[in-house]
Amino acid sequence: MRPRRAACALTATLGLLSAAACGGPDGGGAAADATPAPGGTLHVLSSIDLEHLDPARAYVTSTQDVGRLLYRTLTTFAPAPGQAGGQIVPDLATDTGRPADGARTWTFTLKDGVKFEDGRPVTSKDVKYGVERTFAAELPEGPPYARLWLAGGETYKGPYKDPAGLASIETPDERTIVFRLNRPVADFGSAVSLPMFAPVPQDKDTGVGYDNRPFSSGPYRIDAFEPKKQLTLVRNPAWDRTTDTVRKGLPDKVVIDLNLDPAVVDQRLIAGQGEDADAVALEPIGPASVGRVVNDPRLKKRLVTGESINTRFLSINTRHRPLDDVRVRQAIAYALDKDALRTTRGGPIAGDLATTLLPPTLSGAAATPATAAATPPGGAPEDPYPSKDGKGDPDKAKALLAEAGHASGLELTLDTPATAGGKAQGEAVQASLARAGITVKINEISSSAFYSTVGSPARQHDLVIDGWTPDWPGASTYLPILFDGRLITPEGNNNRAQYDSPEVDARLDEIAAVGDPAAAQSAYGELAQRIMRDAPVVPFLWDRAAVLVGPNVAGAYGHTAFVGRLDLVSLGLRK
């Protein structure tokens, strides 16, 4: 297994705006039958906003997808559909990193001839500065890995307060950069694919304002950006195609319309007229459009499907009575109508019903790229709480509830974000649990307040529709974050089941010490099954993304790293 990344937990798992959000890998190279040509203007239609273009703050899939057009990172994902896209390849660096000292020291060498948009060469100091910025309190949203892993990271306050810099990042010369870590990190070569490892020239750093106009090292630079409205990218003349094996840089211009109505995005792409012929959607199509697209062979040809490593599940607050009784939780796991939940997201096109925590792409079986392309859902581990067609088994649930002393039913509260998708899913949970005699009250929370509410054990209720995408393919940024009882925090908590099992905690530590990624992966697979027996969460969907592209767009495929959405760097127009 190679290191990967992703990062869409925030908007993604709950489908805040569009029906689907984060997804995973698979070979969805549908409309790849024509070769893209250089030139023209590519339009991208998005129903959501781009959160934080600043590489230090970019932690949402769509931003990372767009960011790849703007800046280069030490390593990155291969520009390929399916499992192949999960592969880490060199980008700024000449290789995927050279570990030493038991993976405590990582050395990268920069390629020659990589330039910023003003023509100056990208140096190791720019990369170091870019990483140091992520320590600044003013630029908070990025991933935590630099702070967690770099030696001395816990005390460093960022370059604005501490201009001396972080000693554990060394730049012996302009093209060499050395990271000294406080622990062995086998995945570090994957971690440096995150945007936070992109170069930032210190003299161009405008602090918080850098978000509006990051300095480009990729094929495009920002021409104009108005948040929630439009981002216009034009060709970066200093970009040298020969240094870049990942980005094709075909269109002359990329115009990204933001914050459109999701239904309008679908309809414009279905119509595919005028400029919309040269357009692609950034997000998957909504449930309401599925019927039209699936029934029309010409439209179906323009639908690009990509698999993701995202799992959606219902978290059960194991600390609340009577949910502290495992039988009650198991009853919920039996009762849940996974198929109804999937229908709210568009039906089978939105992905496969989940049978366990880890999607096939992450489970031990799928750990080798060779088998990846053809992983059928059947390859996944067995569901401990099976039901016919995933529609739930209310009788079994009732029996379990009776056994636990709740034959007369119980009442639970479900937290959902106040969005169309959130409501639809909430109602599906409500209806399916009602069949087992469980009354669910829906507590709508304004989407902006949603994470701070459910991330606070004091404020969260009994149930929450949740989900997780690891930062790169592999369970190392999944199970340890979600099920380690020691990581339950009073605010910003990710373990929303508040699952606290010393046995599981100990096992997590053991796996973290395993050096071989493949062995670790299969160990994680077993642990996932162990956790499932306690039913702290009920997985229901392994996401897939179905994205519409305009008739004149070529080179489209869904990319695992971008939860199954299009890989923008490969897109071009047919003529």
Binding site: A137, E138, P140, A449
Partner: protein
């Protein structure tokens, strides 16, 4: 007169201050914590505190309100040192979600809202007032009944219903118009008009109904006035009687509601802009509310209120110009 204007402006400022304070207070009660939102997934308490300090959220509500007011008058700076974010006058706050001063966001969105409001206003005034005048002149006729039924229908149609039916018919089914996009008038007048047609019709259907009804009843009122009888007794042509003696007084109340309506619309047609996905002030407000971008909500609320209050002032002044009875003593 100058003194009067100053006094009115002072009252206006006071009203805005109260609106500002009320909005501020409500956001204080909101559960969403902007610092938490900015801190992200892995947020340590220290980082949270740092963000709070930068955003000024660690100060007392009153101090924050004071900061805000100060910013409007003289601009302000968020954070300190190298990371200072300038927010020049008039600083209506700074959106940390989009990294823009609210004022800049508003001014960027205003042209769209103005386009929508102005075009719709022309349309509804033309249609509504004309229909109302004809109805009043042919009171009880078939035309009158038809027009008034249509007007009542227009008044009863929810905006989003009209908007979506229009979009379904004109765009999805008949394909005669493109989906509305924000095209600046200066760049592509035809595209601008194409994008604006549906919002104009949507709003005009609602307002033309209102205006037709008001015009009709005002016209009936003024047609019953003794001075209209005098005008007829003078032997004036009927057209002159209607235009000069009946319509002019009837327009006075219309000026009032027009000012208010236009003022409210300039502050953003929340639903219309949302349905058509046009990035005006209303859409900005809707998005800001969804994202709990408090500075933006506060800014939009203030600016929208400002438009209404200023529209009130303008209406009063226009009244003074149009009505000699008010003008004479002013």
């Amino acid at each position: 007169m100058i003194l009067y204007l100053l006094r009115r402006l002072a009252v206006t400022a006071l009203i805005l201050l109260v609106i500002c304070a009320a909005t501020f207070a409500i956001f204080y009660l909101m559960p969403a914590d902007p610092a938490q939102g900015a801190c992200g997934k892995a947020c340590s308490p220290e980082r949270l505190a740092g963000i709070r300090a930068t955003l000024g959220l660690d100060r007392s509500p009153f101090a924050q309100f004071g900061d805000y007011l100060g910013g409007i008058l003289s601009g302000r700076t968020y954070g300190t040192g190298a990371q200072a974010v300038p927010c020049p006058f008039p600083c209506l706050g700074f959106s940390f979600q989009t990294n823009r001063p609210v004022w800049e966001m508003l001014t960027a969105r205003l042209p769209v809202s103005v386009s929508i409001a102005a075009g719709a206003a022309v349309l509804w005034l033309a249609v509504g007032v004309a229909a109302g005048v004809v109805s009043a002149l042919r009171r009880g006729s078939l035309w009158d009944r038809a027009a008034m039924t249509a007007a009542l229908g227009g008044v009863s149609l929810p905006v989003y219903f009209t908007a979506l039916v229009l979009q379904y018919l004109l765009v999805v089914r008949l394909n005669v118009l493109p989906y509305p996009t924000a095209v600046p008038l200066t760049e592509d007048p035809a595209g601008w008009a194409q994008s604006m047609v549906m919002p104009w019709i949507t709003l005009a259907m609602l307002y033309a109904g209102v205006y037709a009804r008001v015009t009709r009843s005002e016209m009936l009122e003024s047609l019953g006035q003794n001075y209209v009888r005098t005008a007829r007794a003078k032997g004036l042509a009927e057209v002159t009687v209607v235009r000069r003696h009946a319509l002019r007084p009837a327009l006075m109340p219309i000026v009032t509601i027009f000012g208010m309506d236009l003022g409210a619309l300039l502050g953003g047609a929340l639903i219309t802009e949302s349905v058509f996905g046009l990035p005006g002030v209303g859409k900005l407000a809707a998005d800001a509310i969804a994202g709990a971008d408090q500075p933006v909500i506060l800014g939009v609320t203030l600016v929208a209120a400002c438009f209404v209050v200023l529209a009130n002032l303008v209406v009063d002044l226009v009244y003074a110009v149009l009505d000699p009875r008010v003008r004479a003593v002013a």
